[in-house]
Point group: C5
């Protein structure tokens, strides 16, 4: 597993070979009034929404993954994880989504905006690692655990070797959980959080154990905020997600 | 009584003999508009909701307990405590609940998701205790007191023997209240809190005394958050709960 | 005046001669849509609500006092202070209230649940005081000032004599305001706060002076939270309260 | 300018020659649905509301000043600053206001309740000052800047001469801005804040400079909370305020 | 780039040659019900809204820039950045906007009010800089990143040379990002925050790198709050913004 919340310096002089990806996690909630509409109207609304999702998922420069949180969270029901070369794609796509039959009854409960970046911390568990996190390749695990992340201001005042040392400890713990795949993206200045971390995993118990074990690392003391934490169930078809509403 | 909020390490090398249980506490609130519907429509809506609850309660791998908080809490009116081997059962069941006549007028005010785990702290009051908390067997006490729980980050930096010592003190206090039965579950990484603690008890006064007495233990200083705290009245029949709305 | 926020230990070995009272303060807010209903429908709704209040006020084991906060507070309009031997009375009564013509347009903005307990701190200003606060006898002062109260965790780590000393100072200040009558109840574990304090007084100026003077006591430093603070005007007739809506 | 947030001791032995004034700042927000009503219905609603305001403004024992915040604040649109000898006047007046055509579409976003008191800090810039703040005489400046104010608990532990010293520094800075007129009122125990401060001024730039300069005084370190901060535009006619909606 | 969050002293004795500008950032959100209106009614509503914006943009003393946040933020959909010599222009304009066909379905999610001021910190990277920030000349960059900003109270207790030193470090880092243009305005006393900072930039990645790098400066430790952070896409035509809804 990689290392979330590292607070690395921007990569001075190192140009990523792949273009920056823009990333957005949008969490939606449906107005209960929608459930009181006739079934055929609801079906039409879902189909219109799904059509927009499929249109954008089919683009070369964009990836869309869909998840349901129904029954697992009070304030959000489904989520779209969107990755694109162009920030404006998110705007264009959301305009269309909110104007579908279903979209007219949706509110966006949470939205996290971020970009991909290379980390300057060396991954000593895997020194040949070309540091893939500058380009996200989602693994489509059964579950996705997502949360916004903020370090304390004191973390940034520590010397770089100190922070590298704490990241070494963090990475060591993570390596005991090879079934957990981490995606870290950066939100400094463009949204309320500093990072967004998204963990793909097939077994929630493994993830609970990992997070609990990480509590004992030194770096954990420098976490200012790591909530809300979302447990999301992956579906490879958007209609299956919408049918959980 | 057991020990809430222990922040134990994951059980390295110790495999629970029983499978992991997934646990969910969902707190519901009805739209006042529902109370303005005709009585027969309300009755039908409640029956549809109850039928879904009974369907899932009848499954071998799932347990559902229902409670009312009407008159005891401002922002939630009833609660379902759900225990299952499969996380997806919660999703499937909630989809169905929210599409019943009553469900179409409900919002979920709070939802807490957790799993069962074995604690590594020895229970010195009862050394032969096989540590039953890895498998929840609810006792169906008259009242259930539930709250999400988070320790401070400093707690996790204390050495394990120090924490074991504080848990010893905590367990000693709890043992003076044999009428209070604790269920601790773990939410690290899968929800906003670290633990969810649920206390079954027939006499609220006992629980108030216990919690007040625990304030004086050393471990109490390491509590970051233990609210909101819900007082729930148990009913062995879901319709009795729905009839308090 | 008595002493709020004392964080006393449970009374080991001392059995109160009077049964525990359960206490609830429910603060209600009406949907503006109710004000747009025809006058006769509003009148009927208020009468139904008042009838339930009078039914429960007439029981031997229950006391109900009603207050209006209209014009004094943004987020709550009236309050019922309920005292009963049985917690379930609150549930039963609220079910009925919320199903009256007025109740169908109400939300409960705040609810505080607590019990009565004996304090272990000696009231040195009045050593013969049999410590009446284990049983509430409301004085029906013109005004009631109510707030939930939480001490810091550090308070509970102080030795008992230290806390008794601080309570002595607190009680001394309070004794300068004999026109202010305090009712302290305990919420540890059963609601978000630790205590609920309710001060009866005929002159708000006296209460402002008292609270400002208490700021200078040592114990004041151990207050974690004492808001929201509600100013409530007493009416001896529930219809007079409902007519302020 | 006078001195806000002083945390003075109650005036022992000094009786104000003028009766206590009760003060209330009510901030209103209109339901967007009201804007969708026919123009003549809206006009009628505004006239009914204005009539109630004028009825109470005409009483000998009551003063009402009205302000608009439209375009300057997201969560409040207009405000009534009410001063009366009798707290119950606020209740009676608000009941009537909320039942007017406009009132039936209003919510009260914020309400601050306070009383007038004499400060024990000497105003050394003006020793002959009979300390007029025990009786508010609003100056009807073009702008009113209002906020609730809370000092830290540590402030109250400082010795009185220390606090007097800090207030001297504070008053000195204030005296450089004679165009800013301060009204301080006291809310200890009767509302969430400790003080409400209302500054009358004709030039917002002067007030920004004053507040920024005050940041450098020692007393500023003991501010726990001084938000939300409202910028309000004065109108001498309530209908002009309502016509900004 | 300039320096945000400097907490400078008011400019004693230095009169700005240009008049004070008043600045307002209003973030709007549309009621989903508006999306359910017939297309022609929605079109009319947008045209009415656009007409008001163009009327005020055409005034000599006022500048209006419009942005969309659809798909980038959960709780706000578009924003108007307004600059005027007269605060009352904001009030007048918002009254008209909220009464257009679209305005009747809008709520204002956030509003930030501020003024322009000269900074007393010397910009040592550019000593001949006549300090243009006393008068905003927006550059119309593709993206605008806006956030309210508050320094800790401790910052204001540091000596002026200390703060100048920290600002030197801050300015040095900023100078590495010439593509980011900063506008700092002052809200002390007139809104909840102390400053509002608005960064114009054509490449979000540059801004993320800048903010992350600034985390390591000493001044960063004195940030109390710098959220919420809004990413806004610029459109030179208001209708293009409204068409993203």
């Amino acid at each position: 597993m990689g290392h979330p919340g590292t607070g690395e310096k921007p990569a001075e002089g190192i140009t990523p070979k792949l273009p920056t990806q823009f990333v957005n996690f949008s969490f939606f909630k449906v107005d209960p009034a929608w459930r009181r509409l006739p079934d055929d109207e609801r079906q039409r609304g879902k189909e219109e929404f799904a059509a927009v999702v499929e249109e954008y998922a089919g683009r070369d420069d964009t990836m869309i993954l869909s998840y349901s949180l129904v029954g697992l969270r009070a304030d959000a029901e489904f989520m779209l994880w969107r990755i694109s070369k162009d920030l404006r794609v998110f705007q264009e796509m959301t305009s269309k989504l909110m104007n579908t039959g279903l979209g007219k009854y949706l509110t966006i409960a949470y939205s996290f905006l971020s970009i991909t970046k290379r980390s300057v911390y060396v991954d000593k568990m895997d020194p040949t690692n070309p540091n893939p996190r500058v380009y996200i390749v989602p693994g489509r695990g059964k579950y996705l655990f997502v949360y916004p992340f903020v370090k304390t201001r004191d973390w940034y005042q520590l010397s770089f070797p100190t922070r590298q040392g704490m990241m070494d400890e963090h990475i060591q713990v993570g390596s005991k959980y090879p079934s957990v795949k981490l995606n870290t993206t950066y939100s400094f200045g463009i949204d309320d959080q500093e990072f967004v971390v998204a963990f793909e995993c097939d077994e929630p118990r493994d993830f609970v154990n990992l997070v609990q074990e990480l509590r004992e690392t030194e770096a954990s003391r420098y976490t200012l905020r790591d909530t809300p934490m979302f447990t999301c169930i992956y579906y490879d078809n958007i209609m299956d997600v919408l049918n959980t509403l």
